[in-house]
Symmetry: C2
Subunit: 881 residues, 2 copies
């Protein structure tokens, strides 16, 4: 039986439209849209698509086109010629085409467009005749030779540039457009010489040869290193190859009756249902983009050509009806005739995404699930925090870029100490606290400031963590900012800024800008609440928050958090008297002295917990026992050390020696987390006592406090067994001491943040009532990356595409995810239904939430301002399952 | 059908010996040996063993003895009474027994011995009569009440102590032995009161009751927390329980015709085949151990009782013939009658182990495989490096303990700078270099010194790593040593030592001692070579070495290394001019300047590699590309920074700024390893160029250089793919430049030391021609332990048995091992037969080598001095498979 050959080309045009049922996989995205638009009767320059199947065959044949392809192509060209009454290579009225690649998914790295294909020494004169514009014809021809030479034949672009520069010099032309017709004719000759020199053959004078070479080049671009790597990184598999779109050219630059434009079917910035766009008379598409001439609002077309404008409005409705989404369209008017060149789903702001999705549900275009999938979860940040306006950003004077440590936008005058920030804010000034790094003593100043900028420290530095908790804008680790505290100024790349220089910082990008950049403050719409309600209806994952204070807890609860997934206790030790007591504890030489100091801390901790339980009443609060190395709590400068020594009545040398002793080469891998509780069990006892006493106090006030005690940094089951026993003993002891006989139902669980804990999760789960993945540390250890030091090589890793994304922002599902998956299944293998969550910062990242949903986590926990994002992302994950 | 009840007790004695075929699992180790000795006709005090099966039943019955057990016990007691013509509880000639636990494997934490069981108020007088020694009888009785009260009834020992103290005071007795007979009679009354007070019942006056309670106590001790924990940690599973041994007492303290002794059938120190031991006349076993009286050499027994001595010698031969191994025996002579109390395999030094194993093969006791299993691989260290003599250590004045950074023993005068060490050594003095920490500038001094002592830094500090490479003794991180370089002295816990104070350091234990402790220097025997030959015959694993210089390489080759598994290149940059060029490279701001500096380094590197290839000709040399963070190479003190600035003609501020910029919070997780090659590919290029040029030079001299290039710290396949490409390009470029057309066969592989690399080993293996597990880093990251900081909590972890052993010394097979296993199988799943080795320091640890053999590694690599150990351990792993 003869093998049936698959259809290799699909025509679209007035004559026939073949592609509508063929699907994206065969036609590519662009090809399908062209067929669709033609099919629903829109005016599209006709053409045809060579399928992805042919691309696959091309590689199977050892990079050869299938034998009959060019016959097929020739047939399509003939159909085109008939339909348009033009001839390919014709000396009077030549048919010119564009050639574009287009796979099923949009993919950078593949071949760009070739325009004006079909021009030869003969047909260029035909074009000149047909358009009565010889300059235009030669300009098109030189563009073809350049693009073809560059893209198809691999001639370096600068060779053409050099030739052009000579011509420009000769004609004393400043711009390309200043070169007269004869210059362009000369240029074509020069370009052809360049082409010949580098390819050792003349520029092809047969249009079909041009087309064949172009098709081969498109297919070749499917397997460039960059394209292959992109597919690897993005996990794009199972595609046959790229399609090739060959389409008749349409020109918007043929006179005052021609033009071109781009538009959105609704306002992409606000989402309002009004046609929105721009157009330019007598221009090509690239002129609109290049911004050389100022385009007019699309509504002005009414005055220029009412019929065309009406037609465009009709097409807008047809497209929205057809695609059931806001479209981004490109169109050209050639001598009064409208042609649609492209339609695609339009990009939009977060606010617009919410409004359009809700409107379209009302308009019955889509249902709730579809609406939820239409809103990029991350874009909700724009609805919750101030941001710089696009216009403001476009003209901003960017000084340097640090780390985007806490999102938001803020504008203010630099304050160089915390005290200064407090004072000046009190006087009504808006200030940005600018410090090398912040320390616990700076919290008041940080709270007063509109934003925080540090020159060292990473995404987990003190400044970054504290700022995120508050939703305060922060740029950290801006290494090029050199601060001189004494002179109240800083310099960036030689430019000096004082306490009187207004600056702007963008916590979402890390940019530091001179002057005041325009910001916009969001107001939450009814549509936002509606989207959140829908999200809650469809998601399976619970969403908790990471919060350390009653205020944060309340804010997160308002944002819809269903509990606290991570309540860090260390920040509680930094304020006022507490830090002194904490330091006394650390400097104690005996257990007895440590207990004495801890006794002072107990009432503070109890009060903190009581406040948080009250704010979260009825919802679970997961409290992590002390985690950071003790070195973080002691003073490092001589002055503070002396002060502490005086308070404690010991010699400054003793303080200094202890501080030095606590110094570690790699504190991230040092004496911290549960290791502290093993060596100083009295710290654990104090913390658990405070928790239990707070729970009992709440219960007595009829406040339903639900505490979960989380032991950090477990690496072995033996650690957890020992410490769980100590926690339980302490709970029992407090209950006995307080004569409380009711049930407290305090769960005792652990963080899984050490690779070994995930690898041995079956052993660990024997002693854990819940797991919470600390994916910040888990990522650090699985990759061997210190988050605070990664900036020295991460930029290279991202630019060389060794990493697709910063693994601290989005969970590495291949490696770290393997451990998470292993931890969940091993844990549940010994403890059925074990409650498992995530409290690393990935808990607020949509892609990571998708993964968490897949591997069966019970909840994600994230910073208060990301709770709405997580709710939406969780719903999307479940809907798209 | 009635269920057949298993036999519950096994008698051993003249009447009958039941236990010989029953096996260790049923009788326990001690019970089996007693049965064996009795069975082969040796004089053993008769008795019986209650089986481990009964222990199992005891627990199954809810901690109750099986109904018929005590009938069985009574029958055995009657047999004993008949055989010995004594009566249990008899008023004239009482039978007394000891009760001991004994499982199939020796296990600390279980019940100790109870002696003299059977004494009551009645039988104590019988014992007095029978021995004509009332003091002896009451001394035995008070010991029973004390032991029984403490061990069986759980009365705290100090309650008895207090009662004894009162009696001693009353009789003005300094020692227990000074208390007269009437005092002991009073003491018994007092002890009975203590017993009654704490147990609320009288001391049992029926011997059978005493025995029942003692048996229950032994069974109870099987499940104490400590015993359970011990079995968990040691992975002891599947045992039924402990046996109980009830044995007639024999007394060596019944007069001048009685005595007791311990002996080894061969010399346990040298292995020489001579009977070796000590005995004491009129004494109990514990007197020999306690050292109150000085025992005589066992050979002196000839003069005291020739017949007994002759009998003992015969027994010695019988035991060696029977057990085919050197035995450690205990015996007692009661009124001229010899009784054997115990025999067990004797502990021995490394030298003795080698000699005895070889002798026993010659004597045809055992075969080669058995001989190899008999030698603890680790003990070979004693044969290769100087060590302190046991006598020297016993009386040493230990000042403090640091980390055992590099084994060996050394004695010398402190030198406080490298220059001083060089100078004084040149003058013939033996010095120990005492530094806070060492740095690359110190290498000459380190090489001159007999040993190195540092007060900070861990097992991977500069001092430790360099010292291990040289086999130089080093104690690191001795935190209690306070060094004052200016005054040329240090203090330890208040004691001061100057450059004139002789000190001794033990690199195998970390001890720092005052004065000169006696050392012994090993000489390698013919037996050692024989053992190595046998080991090579039976092992499957290859053994390579970690060596960075021709001298190390040669030494390792002499020790039998089959290649270099890890040649670190960083140490090569520390000497003389090199470090200056290295620093210039690091301080360069442009790639061009870096290349200029690297050009200076190239000839040095090439020469290093040429030397190593020449030393290892015909054997593979795995070279790791630059690994440590650049910060390690720059000067940190102001003076050196200024010097460097002068050399480079730049400002000291620039040097300082760059040094600060290179500082990392967690350098272990920072910009190092392959991350350097990604950001500064020119470093990789220089190193690969040096390697390839060295290979070509060697080949031209007909030296077969086999290079393997190893890329460190790979975490993603993308890194390796990129860098492998760069390495290959460089190889090709050098070949072309040198016009070398032959094959070089340079393999390109990677270290697996990042958890993620193991997790994604299938992806990584696509680009790797070999894997080498860097288990130092892998352990650091899998556990989240910084090896340099672990000392702040490791001691607690070991003492609380959270970790069975330091995971940096012996591979954690549960966690880290899981990643190794995964790495091997995932790697080989895509690349069949992938060569896989290990180059972490675990490569020299016998237990870890066993694991490496199990998971199918091809080779282990370790420091030169551990090569023989690894060869033996590899053979043992394969033989015991």
């Amino acid at each position: 039986m003869a093998k049936k050959t698959a259809k290799m080309t699909y025509y679209f045009g007035k004559t026939k439209t073949e592609g509508r049922g063929a699907g994206k996989e065969i036609l590519g995205g662009k090809g399908l849209n062209l067929a669709e638009m033609t099919g629903i009767g829109l005016p599209v320059p006709p053409g045809f698509t060579i399928t992805t199947v042919v691309c696959d065959q091309y590689y199977k044949l050892g990079k050869k086109l299938p034998a009959s392809l060019m016959d097929d192509v020739a047939k399509n060209i003939r159909t085109l010629e008939r339909e348009l009454k033009k001839g390919f290579g014709d000396a009077k009225n030549p048919l010119l085409v564009s050639v574009r690649s287009g796979a099923a998914v949009s993919m950078p790295g593949m071949m760009n467009t070739i325009l004006n294909l079909g021009l030869t020494d003969v047909s260029v004169e035909g074009l000149a005749t047909a358009t009565s514009n010889r300059r235009f014809a030669y300009d098109a021809y030189r563009r073809l030779i350049n693009m073809f030479g560059d893209v198809v034949m691999g001639i370096d672009h600068h060779h053409f540039e050099e030739a052009f520069d000579k011509i420009k010099k000769k004609y004393k032309a400043a711009e390309d457009t200043d070169v007269p017709e004869e210059g362009l004719v000369e240029l074509v000759t020069a370009y052809k010489a360049v082409y010949k020199k580098h390819t050792r053959s003349a520029f092809p004078q047969n249009p079909i040869d041009q087309l064949r070479l172009a098709v081969e080049a498109v297919f070749g671009s499917w397997n460039t290193t960059r394209a292959v790597r992109y597919r690897e990184v993005e996990g794009i598999r199972g595609l046959l190859g790229t399609a090739v779109n060959v389409q008749a050219m349409a020109y918007g630059n043929m006179g005052e009756d021609s033009g071109t434009g781009v538009a959105f079917t609704r306002n992409p910035s606000t989402g309002k249902n009004v046609f929105y766009g721009e157009f330019l008379i007598n221009a090509q598409g690239e002129d609109v983009v290049a911004g050389i001439r100022t385009p007019q609002p699309v509504v002005e077309m009414r005055k220029w050509n009412k019929a065309v404008y009406k037609q465009l409005l009709e097409i807008k409705d047809i497209l929205e009806n057809h695609y059931r989404d806001m479209q981004d369209i490109e169109f050209t008017i050639e001598k009064g005739n409208l042609f649609m060149l492209q339609t695609r789903t339009g990009k939009r702001t977060g606010a617009a995404a919410v409004k359009i999705a809700c409107d379209m549900v009302r308009e019955k275009f889509i249902d709730e699930k579809e609406a939820l999938l239409r809103i990029p979860a991350d874009a909700l940040t724009q609805l919750l925090l101030p941001s710089f306006t696009p216009a403001g950003k476009a003209s901003a004077d960017v000084l340097t870029q640090g780390l985007p440590a806490s999102p938001g936008a803020s504008v203010g005058y630099p304050a160089f100490t915390a005290d200064e920030a407090v004072e000046r804010t009190a006087k009504g000034e808006k200030v940005i606290l600018v410090r090398k790094e912040t320390s616990p003593e700076d919290v008041d100043g940080m709270h007063s400031a509109a934003g925080i900028l540090t020159s060292t420290g990473g995404m987990t530095s003190h400044a970054a963590v504290v700022a995120r908790g508050w939703g305060r804008c922060c740029v950290a680790g801006a290494g090029e900012v050199n601060i001189n505290e004494k002179s109240r100024s800083f310099t960036v790349n030689g430019r000096k800024f004082t306490h009187k220089s207004l600056i702007s910082i963008d916590g979402s990008t890390g940019e530091v800008m001179a002057g005041s950049v325009e910001t916009s403050t969001p107001t939450l719409s009814g549509d936002f609440s509606k989207v959140m309600r829908w999200a809650d209806k469809y998601r399976r994952l619970d969403v908790r928050t990471n919060a350390d204070s009653p205020a944060d807890a309340k804010r997160a609860r308002d944002f819809g958090a269903q509990g606290i997934g991570l309540c860090r206790t260390e920040h509680m030790f930094f304020e006022g008297d507490r830090i002194t007591a904490m330091r006394e504890m650390i400097l104690s030489e005996t257990e007895k002295d440590r207990r004495k100091a801890l006794k002072k801390l107990l009432p503070f901790q109890r009060k903190d917990f009581e406040g948080i339980f009250t704010a979260m009443k009825g919802l679970p609060v997961t409290i992590r026992l002390l985690d950071p190395p003790l070195h973080e709590f002691v003073p490092h400068d001589e002055k503070s050390q002396k002060e502490l020594a005086r308070t404690m009545g010991i010699s400054p040398a003793v303080v200094k020696a202890r501080v030095e002793q606590l110094h570690e080469f790699n504190p991230m891998l040092g004496h911290r987390g549960c290791r502290l509780s093993i060596t100083y069990p009295e710290i654990l006892e104090m913390q658990v006592t405070a928790i239990v006493e707070a729970v009992i106090r709440c219960k007595k006030k009829r406040i339903n406090a639900i505490a979960e005690i989380m032991i950090p940094l477990i690496g072995t089951a033996a650690e957890l067994k020992l410490l769980k026993g100590k926690v339980q003993e302490t709970i029992d002891a407090v209950k006995a001491r307080r004569k409380y006989t009711g049930k407290l139902n305090i769960l005792i669980g652990t963080m899984i943040e050490i690779p070994r804990a995930a690898l041995t999760a079956d052993e660990v789960a024997e002693h854990a009532e819940f797991f919470s993945f600390g994916t910040n540390d888990l990522t650090q250890m699985t990759f061997g990356y210190s988050r605070d030091d990664i900036n020295s090589f991460l930029p290279d890793y991202l630019s060389q595409e060794i990493l697709p994304v910063d693994p601290f922002q989005s969970l590495d599902t291949t490696g770290v995810g393997q451990l998470v998956d292993m931890g969940v299944s091993k844990g549940r293998s010994v403890r059925k239904g074990l409650k498992v969550g995530i409290c690393g910062e990935h808990g607020g990242d949509p892609a990571s939430i998708q993964f968490c949903n897949e591997v069966g986590l019970d909840y994600v926990s994230c910073s208060p301002f990301r709770v709405p994002i997580a709710r939406l992302a969780a719903a999307q994950a479940e809907i798209s399952k």
